[in-house]
């Protein structure tokens, strides 16, 4: 390339507004998927706080459980649950991309890779439910 020719820098597309992830639906859904992990992370923090209160004794633990009954805490949990489900389902459906399982010349159908994720989810949920409710 001749040095005296002025080219437009490669980031001309990204520099435009609105930001790239607001321009097309697939980009936006990607951002939503990434953003939902914030709520998954926040829930883990709450869970760790609960374990800490449990360690501090019965009174501290019960006070913590009472604080979770507030409307704000309930709304947060519902939002976090919805986002955690979205996060989980979107990733389940991406597993066939990462796992190329072949039998002979044929690649195993994506649905057969996705299904065991749901099965494992159901089994683990059942075990947790059995622990808590049984």
């Amino acid at each position: 390339m001749k040095p005296d020719v002025r080219t437009i820098p490669a980031n001309w597309w990204l520099r435009r507004s609105p930001p790239w992830w607001l321009r097309r639906r697939p980009y936006f859904l990607f951002m939503v998927r990434e953003f939902t992990s914030v709520f998954v992370g926040a829930y883990v923090v709450i869970f760790l706080m609960m374990i800490r209160r449990l360690n501090e004794g019965q009174a501290a633990y019960e006070a913590f459980l009472a604080s979770l009954q507030s409307p704000l805490a309930i709304v947060f949990h519902m939002v976090a649950l919805a986002f955690a489900v979205f996060h989980t389902v979107t990733w389940f459906h991406l597993t066939p991309k990462a796992m190329a399982v072949r039998i002979g010349e044929e690649r195993v159908k994506p649905a057969l890779i996705i299904a065991p994720n749901y099965a494992a989810w159901a089994v683990i949920s059942a075990i947790v439910a059995w622990f808590l409710l049984g």
Binding site: T7, I8, W20, R24, K97, M99, E105, R107
Partner: protein, 256 residues
């Protein structure tokens, strides 16, 4: 060019840039006949032939094989020869050069960075013990062995995946979808022994770990190469490598 009768006209807003004039790029509007069997490339060629010879763009085969005519059509990377006007009619369409590359003139962008990335992954078969003499016969491969990499070998280097990937725009050194898919194509080839050499590039900071799995590279690929799949599979293989090295006795090396 097709001989069908026009059924109206269509407006094209085309990205124009003249490097010698020292002015900012702008959009120029052209009216072209609307024909059901016309693609964006037909419209661009009509403009160049009939109204504005200065319009500059790359093309060659006009049948989705050469990979030269990639443009942004209404913000989505497409081969100009495969984007039908009828899918947009009667709305106007906006034609721009592929995103994430420096623009030289109008729809022509500079592809040097892409060629460097392609070269860096050693896209050729690396033999374990050198080439065997011709008298020893061919390197045989079963249909199942061939099927493992066939899809990844269909790439025509059209660079639509680079234009669809925001990470390429934000991290200019990112190897990018097509180069990694091609690395995977050779890594999965039963005749190849170059994976360890390629890993230095593929699994480096600028390699697979930059990918955040937006997945649009695969969505825009005209040859269904699925580079997003190739990258995730390479991540999985690299992770397995790491576990072997760290957790397995003797680094699992005797198995390689």
């Amino acid at each position: 060019m097709a001989n069908s009768t026009p059924e109206g006209t269509m407006r094209l807003e085309v990205f124009r840039y003249f490097p010698e004039k020292g002015e900012e790029p702008h959009f120029q509007t052209y009216e072209v006949p609307f024909r059901k069997d016309w693609v964006v490339l037909d419209a661009l060629n009509y403009i160049k032939d009939q109204s504005d010879g200065s319009l500059t763009f790359r093309w060659s085969c006009r049948m989705g094989v050469c990979g030269s005519c990639g443009v942004m059509v209404n913000g989505v990377p497409k081969l100009g020869c495969s984007a039908f006007l009828r899918d947009y009619y009667p709305n106007p369409i906006r034609v721009e050069p592929l995103a994430n590359f420096p623009v030289l003139r109008d729809l022509v962008f500079q592809l040097d960075s892409f060629l460097e990335k392609l070269k860096s992954i050693q896209p050729w078969i690396v033999r374990r013990d050198g080439e065997k003499p011709v008298s020893d016969g061919e390197y045989l491969q079963t249909p199942a062995q061939h099927a493992r990499f066939k899809d990844f070998s269909m790439c025509i280097n059209c660079m639509l995946c680079y234009a669809a990937c925001p990470v390429v725009g934000m991290e200019p050194h990112f190897l990018g979808p097509a180069a990694i898919a091609l690395a995977q194509r050779y890594n999965l080839d039963s005749r190849d022994a170059g994976r360890e050499q390629r890993q230095e590039t593929v699994s480096s900071h600028d390699g697979i770990w930059q990918c955040t799995f937006i997945g649009q590279c695969s969505a825009v690929c005209p040859k269904h190469v699925d580079p997003a799949g190739a990258i995730q599979q390479a991540k999985l293989a690299s992770t397995v490598d790491w576990f072997k090295e760290v957790l397995w006795p003797f680094g699992g090396r005797e198995k390689r």
